[in-house]
């Protein structure tokens, strides 16, 4: 029974969501919007569980002396931001927005900017011309890189054209082949879940 009820719910809602996509009737739209609202409510409850688990985990680690500073900062952030929002509001000059603009946003930008260095190191590894295919990749990347800068157009007008051709044909063909595979994989996975063949999400069966 513990497996059957979720399977029936999944089947019914899977078929409803599938059928409503092909309808523009107000009832179908209403059902769709209602289900989305239910989803938001479920998410809100699980967010509560997630935050509780986060607090519990951090407190446990602090009591065990395992990375207590990181855990304390995490907990402080979690507690302080809502307090600032409740006490001072979320206006432009509020302490909440000050913390958001001067602490959270720069920290996020810092992590994002790491990407530039990681792209450089990953490109270096990927473009090392050790094999024929790696050499082709390196040459193609060089052409595309050169074709995207104004200087290349001054050297030869063929660079931007070649870049456009590489991106529109060989590169796009490969991407579309992968996308077709992903699309079909997603579709059959969804069908397996709706038909009850795939049950891993249900107690790992």
């Amino acid at each position: 029974m513990r497996t059957k009820i979720p399977l029936i719910i999944c089947l019914v809602f899977g078929v409803i969501m599938f059928a409503q996509y092909f309808s523009s009737h107000p009832l179908a739209l209403k059902v769709y919007n209602n289900i989305l609202e239910w989803w938001q409510i479920i998410f809100a409850f699980t967010l509560f569980i997630g935050v509780l688990a986060f607090v519990k985990n951090n407190l446990k680690n602090i009591s065990r002396g395992k990375e207590p500073i990181y855990k304390l900062i995490g907990l402080l952030g979690l507690v302080l931001m809502p307090i600032l929002a409740i006490a001072g509001g979320t206006g432009i000059d509020s302490p909440f927005m000050w913390s958001f603009d001067n602490m959270l946003a720069p920290m996020q930008a810092t992590v994002f900017s790491l990407l530039a260095f990681f792209v450089a190191s990953a490109s270096y590894r990927g473009f090392r011309a050790r094999t024929v295919s790696a050499t082709i990749l390196l040459l193609t990347a060089l052409i595309v890189l050169l074709g995207r800068i104004p200087l290349a157009e001054m050297v030869s007008e063929s660079f931007p054209k070649l870049t456009f051709w590489i991106q529109s044909y060989p590169s796009m063909a490969a991407r579309r082949a992968i996308l077709i595979g992903i699309g079909l994989g997603s579709m059959t996975t969804a069908l397996r879940v709706i038909l009850g063949i795939e049950r891993t999400y249900l107690r790992g069966e």
């Binding site: 092909f22 009737h25 179908a28 998410f43 590894r125 996975t189 107690r203």
Partner: protein
């Protein structure tokens, strides 16, 4: 299966019965039970569904399907074995981009189940940080059940499957920190990844972990290919469930996927030849 057909026929019947509302008032699109703009998708979906059902029926009548070797999935044992030998944990994360209703996340859960069963068997620690509380709840259940299935329920550590933050770079920074401090021997990056993919993969690469990755984003796949040891490309991620469990019904749906792919390829070839011969033709455009 029977109930599926009953419900499907009921809905299709409902649509067909109510559709004269649209037919009698042809220029009024909104309010129709059947939206004719989506008919092509409906036909393709029904054909795909029939092919999947045919493949499942074939298996039930005794036909065997074989699936080619997928290096990324073959390496799962190697990754778990390496972590066990080194006495280091395994890190498994589904990325920031997905939620539980996404097929990629479901596919990732299938692989997690196999990995969790193996880690429970070898008593290796499995760390699962996530950005979504729903994924956390499902993953906890999957890991717990996998440990029970492996006969080691006591080796399930609920604290190791945890929620971090719904903020993209908050999540990336936290997982990066865990990788740097815990130094996992093996890292599984399987799910929906966005800009955080390379940040995580490069950090894992820097500490010398064996990395198995797979995602549904073609942009992030390129990053995974250069930074990870094994990458599941395209449909490989979705075939993992059947490949790892050897469940015949799941394998048959993977086979159905191949049949549909061949049909699409044939359609593309025919349309290409047709368009070359008659450039003004448009029947193949949907």
């Amino acid at each position: 299966m029977r109930s599926f057909w009953r419900i499907s026929i009921f809905f299709l019947g409902l649509i067909a019965a109510a559709n004269p509302v649209y037919a009698s008032n042809g220029d009024e699109k909104t309010g129709a039970w059947l939206n004719f703009d989506t008919v092509t998708t409906l036909i393709f979906s029904i054909i795909s569904l029939l092919i999947v059902l045919y493949a499942i029926w074939s298996v039930k009548s005794g036909r065997k399907f074989k699936i080619r070797d997928i290096p990324g999935l073959k390496a799962v044992d190697e990754a778990v074995g390496r972590a066990t030998e080194m006495g280091s944990p395994i890190l498994y994360t589904p990325g920031w981009g997905g939620d539980i209703q996404r097929p990629t996340t479901i596919a990732s859960m299938n692989i997690l189940s196999s990995v969790a069963a193996k880690t429970a068997e070898y008593d290796t620690r499995l760390i699962y940080p996530t950005h979504d509380p729903v994924i956390m709840a499902v993953a906890q259940e999957v890991v717990r059940e996998a440990a029970i299935r492996a006969g080691h329920a006591d080796r399930f550590r609920a604290d190791d499957v945890f929620y971090i933050s719904s903020s993209q770079f908050g999540y990336a920074a936290a997982v990066d920190g865990i990788i740097s401090r815990e130094k996992p021997a093996s890292i599984f990056l399987l799910g929906t990844f966005e800009a955080e993919s390379l940040i995580l993969a490069e950090t894992g690469n820097a500490i010398g972990s064996i990395q198995i990755a797979g995602t549904d984003s073609t942009i992030q796949l390129a990053f995974f290919i250069v930074a990870c040891d094994y990458t599941l490309i395209g449909e490989e991620l979705f075939a993992a469930s059947g490949y790892l469990s050897r469940n015949e019904s799941i394998l048959s749906s993977v086979k159905a996927q191949d049949i549909i792919k061949i049909m699409i390829a044939l359609f593309i070839v025919v349309a290409m030849i047709w368009a070359t011969i008659d450039p003004s033709s448009k029947w193949w455009v949907f």
